[in-house]
């Protein structure tokens, strides 16, 4: 039928059909406000919760101080702990009470200045100070230990200098931390969060749209119209893509202005790579929607396959390089992994082309595979 028409008019009617599909989807979006809520309210709420809720910087850690034999030296050390922004010390008269407090989780650590603290023990490579840390949260415990060592080293240096001694070790470490000299965990967590949030939004927007049409029987109705599969899919992707990009812009604006994360790369690179990632996220949602026969199933699959993998396997918080090799391979299947790498680089380091291009290519491949699968599965079910 098509071949009989003039090619130009075919193209025009194809444009019309696509336009019609987009209009239909847009009306559907506008009439059930939940999609708009997903695209704009969800990033706002989630980024607020994540941005404030996720932090690895320990401050005001409650600790117990036990001084067995008060002297001028012990009080100068305890005041160093009192003045540190990292600690919130409470004095305990005896180690047994302090241990009780540690067991009841009133404090996270104990600093115990024993009765032989002072003079002799401070210089001879001995350890007159006992420290106990609650190690249940291993990462936090390690950070707290680091802070304690810092307070101790600084105090010891001042103390030795006052006594005219040197405690300098033969090799000193001169550290340069690039991109994030203050080691603010928020600066790397917030860009990563954008990837996690956009994974959720992309999947939530589209996970149910095709399943819903099948369930209600409107897909069959669409199939008997001259609209082609490609036009149906494009009609579904384009409105949600625009919604998703809106959500993305909102997230970036919040990261830069609210959370003060430096944006060293350009906005254009960020938007370009975001568009690629959004294609992957929407493609994944559409694929779930196409493969699942009904909304119930699509919803369940979306819950399982989006948030937790993006949270744990994307490298946003857990270092991928430290995972076992087999697990590292699995992380390659997670689109968010590539976007996290891009975002952390574009925000904190700027335009590092090897990182940006390699990860963009991976995103492109994933997006094409998802959309091709969606198209194939939709055609098969026509027959």
């Amino acid at each position: 039928m098509k071949t009989m028409k003039h090619p130009d008019s075919t193209r025009r009617s194809a444009g019309m059909r696509l336009h019609g599909m987009i209009r239909k989807e847009t009306l559907q979006i506008l009439r059930d406000p939940s999609s708009i809520a997903i695209a704009f309210v969800l990033p706002l709420v989630l980024l607020l919760i994540f941005g404030y809720g996720v932090s690895l910087d320990a401050e005001h850690v409650p600790i117990a101080l036990v001084v067995e034999h008060p002297s001028a030296q012990t009080s100068s050390l305890t005041s160093a702990f009192y003045h540190s922004p990292y600690f919130d010390p409470t004095g305990y008269p005896h180690i047994r009470q302090a241990e009780e407090a540690l067991r009841e989780k009133k404090v996270d650590g104990i600093v115990w200045l024993r009765d032989n603290f002072g003079g002799e023990t401070l210089s001879a490579g001995r350890s007159p100070v006992g420290v106990f840390v609650n190690g249940v949260d291993a990462n936090n415990a390690r950070i707290i230990q680091g802070y304690m060592e810092g307070v101790w080293a600084k105090w010891l240096e001042q103390f030795s200098a006052a006594q005219g001694m040197s405690v300098e070790m033969p090799v000193t470490l001169e550290q340069r931390i690039w991109f994030n000299p203050g080691l603010r965990s928020r600066d790397y967590l917030v860009p990563g969060l954008i990837a996690v949030i956009m994974t959720l939004i992309g999947a939530l927007l589209t996970a149910m749209v095709v399943a819903r049409e099948w369930e209600r029987g409107t897909m069959e109705a669409l199939m008997v119209t001259p609209v082609s599969v490609r036009e149906i899919l494009l009609g579904k992707i384009i409105p949600y893509f625009i919604l998703g990009m809106g959500g993305m812009l909102l997230s970036v604006a919040m990261a830069v202005w609210l959370f003060q994360v430096p944006l060293r790369g350009s906005l254009w690179v960020l938007l370009g790579t975001s568009a690629l990632f959004l294609l992957v996220a929407l493609g994944m949602g559409l694929l779930i929607s196409t493969l699942a026969k009904n909304q119930f199933m699509a919803g369940q699959v979306a819950i399982i396959t989006t948030f937790l993998p993006a949270f744990i396997l994307s490298g946003f918080i857990f270092d991928i390089g430290s995972m076992p090799a087999a697990i590292q391979w699995i992380t390659r299947l997670i689109g968010a992994r590539y976007f996290v790498a891009i975002l952390q680089t574009v925000f904190l380091a700027g335009h590092v082309w090897p990182v940006i291009l390699a990860n963009s290519l991976a995103l492109l491949i994933m997006g094409v595979i998802f959309l091709a699968l969606v198209k194939r599965r939709t055609q098969k079910r026509l027959e």
């Binding site: 989630l46 001879a124 390690r142 405690v167 070790m169 033969p170 090799v171 001169e174 699942a292 199933m297």
Partner: protein, 369 residues
């Protein structure tokens, strides 16, 4: 009455498990995720890529470099020959860290007893950077001490004598894996409950249920039981895997653990059913499930400590049942927690569960749509 609830329960189980794909979705992914996440979610560093830029021909720098190479935490990826190679290595994430020893490293050490080791770290992931620096500092200070004792010189200063309780080797897996028990139990419970009422509403079968002699409380019980049974079977299995596969020590009493699990399931099912009864469509149900699931994982202390959050966020976590369950499960696993010690964690979950279930039961008949 029991008969009727039982019949409804059977119907709910059939609705969930009759379809093979739906059965697979509830059973297989949580178990796969347990294994994958158990290995993936760790803060411990392993084979951190680093490069050395050693301009010094002397013996001391070579010995220090050998110590780094001997550490299982680090993995040497390149030997740099000049300054200009440093930036590309770090920028492209080929190395997390560059150790730079200047041309007079050994000479300074021999003459002045003092030398500098420059470390350049990629701070894009600040937690990894901080941990890696900590490891390097350890290696360097051990090297320094040995150098000082061999060559005579400054005696090493006094040190803190640090012991860690409950997790002596600071294995972050011991912290994370019990957390995954809570995480996956929550996901499974929500999968089973969050769409169940919304689906019946959309299909119109819920109206049919309402005109039967079943009391709303009976409908509620029929909807609660499948979540309860599936949730506790999967949680038990996950606990077994945590103990026998990941070898996380389980020191406390099972009574304390299962009291916590019972109350946690109650509160999670309560929230799930409430979401489901508010939702008119399944899409809204799904949105509600995510709106609950995501914040409750973020604000539970699963990956980052609650104590690091701003005060108003910390108050918000008090509404989150998972927060209490994570304290319970970690305490029972690692600290040997008992029922009496964990009492403050039990009752908030019971309250959250009861309140949500009552709202859900009320909404069954009063929801306008």
């Amino acid at each position: 009455m029991l008969n009727r609830i039982f019949a409804l329960m059977i119907k709910e189980f059939l609705a969930l498990l009759k379809d093979k794909r739906s059965r697979t979705v509830i059973i297989v992914p949580p178990l796969l995720q347990l294994i994958v996440f158990g290995y993936a979610a760790t803060y411990d560093l392993n084979r951190v890529p680093y490069a050395i830029y050693n301009e010094d021909p002397g013996a001391a720098s070579r010995e220090l470099a050998a110590r780094m190479e001997g550490s299982p935490t680090f993995h040497l990826v390149a030997d740099l020959q000049n300054d200009s190679q440093i930036a590309p290595m770090i920028n492209a994430r080929k190395a997390l860290m560059i150790l730079h020893m200047g041309p007079h490293f050994t000479r300074d050490l021999l003459l002045d007893q003092s030398s500098k080791l420059q470390v350049i770290v990629d701070g894009r992931n600040s937690n990894t950077a901080m941990l890696a620096l900590g490891y390097v500092r350890n290696i360097v200070s051990r090297f320094s001490e040995q150098w000082a004792s061999e060559h005579g010189g400054v005696r090493p200063p006094a040190r803190l004598n640090i012991r860690t309780w409950f997790n002596p080797n600071l294995e972050s897996r011991w912290f994370i894996v019990p957390g995954i028990v809570g995480l996956l139990t929550l996901v499974v419970t929500l999968l089973v409950t969050a769409l169940s009422v919304a689906r019946e509403r959309e299909a119109g079968t819920f109206d049919q249920l309402l005109v039967t002699p079943l009391h709303p409380v009976e409908i509620l019980l029929g909807k609660v039981m499948p979540g309860f049974i599936i949730g506790s079977i999967e949680a038990s299995f996950i606990i077994l895997v945590a103990v026998f596969w990941f070898h996380v020590p389980l020191l406390g009493s099972l009574t304390a653990l299962y009291t916590g699990l019972f109350l946690f399931l109650l509160s999670a099912i309560g929230v799930g059913l409430m979401i489901s009864s508010i939702a008119v469509t399944q899409q809204q149900g799904l949105l509600g499930a995510f709106l609950f699931l995501v914040p409750s994982i973020i604000l539970s202390g699963f990956a980052t400590p609650i104590a690091n959050m701003p005060p108003f966020m910390q108050d918000l976590t008090l509404l989150n049942p998972m927060r209490y369950f994570l304290v319970i499960i970690r305490s029972v696993f690692l600290e040997g927690g008992s029922v009496s010690l964990l009492w403050p964690q039990y009752w908030p979950m019971a309250v959250i569960g009861m309140v949500n279930l009552s709202i859900a039961a009320w909404l069954f008949r009063h929801r306008l749509y």
